[in-house]
Amino acid sequence: MKRHTSINILFYLYGLLTLAFLYLPVVAVGFASISKSRYLRFPIRKYATGWYGKALTSDTVMDLLSTSVTIAVIVTVVSLVIGFFGALAFARYQWRFRKLYQKLILLPIFFPQTVLGLALLMWFNTLGITPTWKTAIIAHLVWITPIVTLIIAIRAYGFDPSLEDAARDMGCSNWQIMKEVTIPLLMPAVTSAGLFAFLLSWGNFPLSLFTTGADSTLPEWLYAKMVSGYSPLVPTLGVLSVAASAAVIATAFFIRAMIPAVKQARRNYQQAH
């Protein structure tokens, strides 16, 4: 038994090491963002937060942020609506072309995003559409909607079809079944899929790179700066981008934790009246 525990400790260490490996570059970016000097060199001699002030008052940065947020919000809403029904077709209903359909959904996920972005650029040009941030929404949807569909589908697999049948036997219309049974049951997966959709769109750059035309998203701008040379704003905006994702995740967890309390409060209120 003793040998067993020491091996387990090794596994735990390995897990921690992997996490350190995954987060080390993010930490390095964090340190770089508070370096005072214009040219980064470790060890950092002087720390300063001046670059954050510069970033937050710059018009370019505000434009980048608003483009990225707008795209992410629209992508989230549209992909959830399409993905919700897509997931029902994927996992819940037994229909003739289901297996083929399942494979079609997986293809965009298994596809190199740079090539997909270029293919879309060419397609938009062929159709005579000038790429702007609006076309980037389409590009994000091609990749994110299948992911949203899969996340909701996993939940839909564990769904007991007899619940819907029972509702139907009791005289519910299709719409009532959807509203009273299907949507509430799939809601947890819908919220996490929405979180994924927003954050993946927020952080995506290979798809945006070719499909935004003259507009630019935050990751795209960062990439352009990285390739063309160092700018002290790169680590600063990198940290801001990560912080924004973290804030979204924290908010989501907070809201989820609050749901039981809110329900309880509502119940108390109803009982009191």
Binding site: N8, G15, V26, Q94, L104, M122, G158, L199
Partner: protein, 284 residues
């Protein structure tokens, strides 16, 4: 398979199928059509001459393809070895820690990959986190660790780790404990259990994870650009320059088509063998 489910299935799959037909399948067909056009045209109203494919062979673009596929293969192999013990521990050994690892690994996916790669650039460069501190502590410095082939593979391993880890955990959780105990009771040693019981039973996870990492790594471009400098040119890089600087859409399309064909063959061959209901439905 009753009529109502048939109708509901088709109706609810329609929006997604339409989206993918218009914005995924159609662009791919456009690429295929452009790839057989003569050089430097921007419409499809020309007589096809397949010259772009001749250029692929003549101008040595196949070398970029070989680099992409080779580095992707090495990265996939490394990831299998790196992720197996962790995936195994996440399913069998860790308790609450599994949830923590899962959350923290998923969270890295939400950080733009170029920000994370940039983090490695400033960690590994001369005067970066590693060399800078080593120099100031020991007085011995070294040239940066960037701009070579191994560091590109390192970048691929780093970026695509989650895409191997999660399918592997899913695969390993499909191994019933009874199968391992039975093998152990019959006198199999640790290695035999691994080879004869665990590997075959976890195969769907291994296949999906390897396919995903290989395909994504083969089409990756940021790793070689940011970490590798100009050490090697990968195929996606060639596609990109043909479309942008070269203004030669047929060439770019032909290069993309070659990559797409390699990938499609792999995907079609493997996905035909994997039953998705089984892999996804059985979450534990």
């Amino acid at each position: 398979m009753n009529a109502r489910e048939q109708r509901l299935g088709i109706c609810s799959s329609l929006p997604l199928s339409a989206l993918l037909l218009l914005t995924f399948i159609a662009p791919l067909l456009a690429i295929a059509a452009f790839s057989i056009m003569p050089a430097k045209v921007f419409t499809l109203a020309h007589i096809p001459d397949f010259s772009a494919y001749a250029e692929f062979v003549r101008e040595g673009y196949w070398k970029s393809l070989a680099w992409s596929l080779g580095m992707a293969a090495v990265a996939t192999g490394l990831l299998l070895v790196i992720c197996w013990p962790l995936a195994y521990a996440m399913v069998r050994i860790f308790k609450r820690f599994t949830l923590i690892i899962t959350l923290l690994v998923v969270m890295t996916l939400f950080v733009s990959e170029n920000i994370r790669l940039f983090g490695w650039v400033i960690t590994l460069m001369k005067g970066g986190l590693f060399e800078g501190y080593m120099h100031s502590w020991t007085g011995i410095g070294f040239d940066g660790l960037l701009y070579n082939v191994p560091v590109i593979i390192f970048g691929l391993v780093y970026i695509y780790l989650p895409f191997m880890l999660f399918p592997l955990t899913q695969g390993i959780s499909m191994i019933p404990d009874d199968a391992r105990y039975a093998a152990a009771d019959m006198g199999a040693n640790r290695w035999q259990i691994f080879k004869e019981v665990e590997l075959p039973l976890a195969a769907p996870g291994i296949v999906v994870g390897s396919l995903l990492t290989f395909v994504l790594a083969a089409g990756a471009v940021a790793e070689s650009k940011l970490l590798g400098g100009q050490a090697v040119i990968v195929i996606s890089d060639d596609v990109e320059s043909a479309f942008t600087y070269g203004q030669n859409w047929p060439l770019g399309s032909a290069l993309a088509m070659v990559l797409i064909m390699v990938i499609s063959v792999l995907i079609v061959v493997t996905l035909m063998k994997v039953d998705l209901d089984k892999v996804m439905g059985k979450v534990k």
